[in-house]
């Protein structure tokens, strides 16, 4: 049951750089905490909900937006694009903020606006809302990027005709560290959808 799907685009975000298909679109000298907001401005994203998101959702949203804009994906078409993503630190970056808000009984300030981001799949919801994707969402946690798990799961969605395209990848935020690698699996594209190809693209993240 071999499918003939390809990889049509990919995006990397790390070291204050965003690149699309291997070409750097934006880079900044700024400290990491300001980078995502600077990138938002520089890339003309224009989506005010971005500022309500936590860092993990902002990172995923930005990477997805760069890639989907390039692919001319429009919310009007309500495309059937499944989202299959994973990371190491789940939503711990925001979990720590929520924990800080309840640690001291004398200064107790839990907030729904923070608490809602204590789930890693919220980033999938944010991307779905922007691009009107009424499609499959799965969020996985591994010690590190596991190509075979992403590859086989994606193929299963294709074989079962659960999605026309699949946006896959790794989006991790942990304190000062962050990285994102997304790739779009589609019926048409220049790169083969193979484990070897996915590994090659993933490894480019560390050369950024």
């Amino acid at each position: 049951m071999k499918n003939q799907f390809k990889i049509s685009s990919y995006c990397h975000v790390k070291q204050n750089k965003i690149s699309l298909n291997g070409t750097v679109l934006f880079s900044a000298e700024a400290e990491e905490s300001k980078f995502l907001k600077q990138a938002y401005k520089a890339l003309d994203v224009n989506y005010s909900k971005f500022f309500k998101m936590d860092k993990l959702s902002q990172l995923a949203f930005l990477a997805a937006d760069v890639l989907l804009q390039h692919e001319n994906i429009s919310e009007e078409n309500q495309e059937n694009i499944a989202l299959v993503m994973g990371n190491k630190a789940s939503s711990l970056d925001t979990d720590r903020k929520h924990q800080d808000s309840i640690q001291d009984k004398a200064s107790y300030y839990p907030s729904p606006a923070v608490f809602v981001y204590t789930l890693p799949n919220i980033m999938l919801g944010e991307i779905s809302i922007k691009y009107k994707l009424y499609s499959e969402n799965s969020f996985f946690v591994f010690e590190n990027f596991k190509t075979n798990y992403f590859y086989n799961y994606t193929n299963s969605l294709i074989d079962d005709k659960k999605a026309d395209k699949i946006l896959c990848g790794w989006v991790n935020v942990d304190d000062e560290d962050y990285e994102a690698f997304l790739y779009l699996v589609t019926p048409n594209g220049n790169l083969q959808h193979t484990e070897k190809q996915i590994n090659t693209l993933y490894n480019e993240l560390w050369k950024l």
Binding site: D95, R96, I102, I129, N137, S156
Partner: protein
């Protein structure tokens, strides 16, 4: 195309430590929820179903020197039972899925004895996998409140992609200050036993369980209550991150897609095990989605009145109870429901009664706009 089944299983809960005894309690109409007074997790008394620490430690029988967290003990104790029943050798063809929303989140608390690193979900997964000697990398699925039932779909997909022959799923979340304070900040908690679909519903109860089950393609490994997984889908609302769609769009699409994959129509579903958290918006959304699908006359229940909302475990917990409902041909009542409280007609089960059953639909919805529907059919 080969069939995939949900087979041997276990439930660790305040109603008992194995599935058969827990299902029996539920069919008798007994709730595991009670009022808890513990100011270390909530300033006010709250309704919950908690796993007794001493009973858990006694059941766990730690065979190692390593110290385990409460959630790890729950997972291992549950999986121990399911593995023992299944009698499957752990080769590189056997996968493990850990379904949880928050894992060892209590490790972030300054008062907790375990190091903060224990809060990483992959560390939790490895601790469980290593205890039993799983040969494959464990998969953590963290998809809010649909995680437990989505895990069944994910397991089936990995088997169909030929990565595994068998997948064990273990699902669970703790009742912690972290969780309670968060839901409380949404003003979503009910101080009484929750009342799904009821006119006077005021919110949810959070409960804790650990549940586990075997997903397999091998017909030699089927328990008496085993079911075939006919079809599954998970669709986003594309609407809001913390509230369900008013039209039930994602749930509607999930059920429609699961029916199509199962080659079934709405008339073929004998009963629905719904999400029914007992919040205003969730229950109303479900009623709308079911009506859009012509499922308003199908008997349906929410089991939240028995266990509370058990977060990353709820979907699998309620699926296992559904397996027992099919086996014993019992429609289980929605505990807490008295008077219709949604605007669209739905057939909420009010009394536990016998009825021939062969097919059921399990649904769940959660933060992030996620929804999942899976359809099961009785095997024996």
């Amino acid at each position: 195309m080969s069939k995939v089944y949900l087979s041997y299983n276990n439930i660790i809960s305040s109603l008992g430590f194995n599935s058969a005894s827990v299902a029996k309690e539920v069919m008798l109409g007994n709730s595991g929820l009670k009022q808890i007074k513990d100011t270390s997790v909530m300033p006010e008394p709250f309704m919950s179903s908690l796993i007794d620490d001493d009973a858990l430690t006694a059941a766990f029988k730690n065979k190692t020197e390593k110290k385990y967290t409460k959630l790890e003990k729950m997972f291992i104790t549950s999986l121990q039972d399911t593995l023992g029943q299944s009698n499957i050798v752990l080769t590189d063809r056997v996968g493990l899925i850990i379904s949880t929303t928050k894992g060892n989140i209590d490790a972030l608390d300054a008062e907790n004895d375990f190091p903060k690193e224990r809060a990483y979900l992959d560390v939790l997964a490895k601790n469980v996998a290593h205890y039993f000697g799983f040969q494959t990398e464990p998969i953590v699925l963290s998809n809010a409140c649909v995680s437990g039932v989505l895990a069944v779909a994910v397991a089936k997909r990995y088997i169909k992609s030929n990565m595994f022959d068998h997948v064990f799923i273990v699902a669970g979340d703790l009742v912690t200050e972290f969780i309670l304070s968060g839901f409380n900040s949404f003003q979503a908690l009910s101080s009484e036993i929750c009342k799904p679909y009821d006119k006077n519903r005021i919110g949810i109860n959070i409960g804790e369980v650990a549940v586990s089950a075997l997903v397999t393609k091998n017909e030699e490994n089927l328990s008496d209550e085993a079911v075939e997984i006919l079809g599954e889908a998970s669709c986003n609302d594309a609407n809001h991150i913390s509230g369900p769609s008013r039209t039930g769009e994602g749930l509607y699409r999930s059920i429609k897609s699961a029916l199509a994959q199962s080659n079934l129509t709405s008339e073929d579903i004998d009963y629905i095990s719904a999400h029914g958290t007992a919040t205003m918006y969730n229950d109303e959304m479900e009623a709308i989605a079911l009506n859009r699908l012509g499922l308003e006359k199908t008997p349906m229940n929410s089991l939240k009145g028995y266990f509370g909302h058990t977060l990353g475990a709820s979907g699998l917990l309620e699926t296992i109870i559904g397996m027992y409902a099919l086996k014993q041909n019992m429609l289980i009542k929605t505990l807490g429901f008295a008077e219709m409280g949604v605007t669209q007609p739905i057939n909420v089960i009010e009394n536990t009664v016998e009825k021939p059953l062969s097919t059921f639909l399990k649904t769940a919805s959660g933060f992030g706009g996620c929804n999942t529907a899976v359809i099961f059919k009785k095997v024996k």
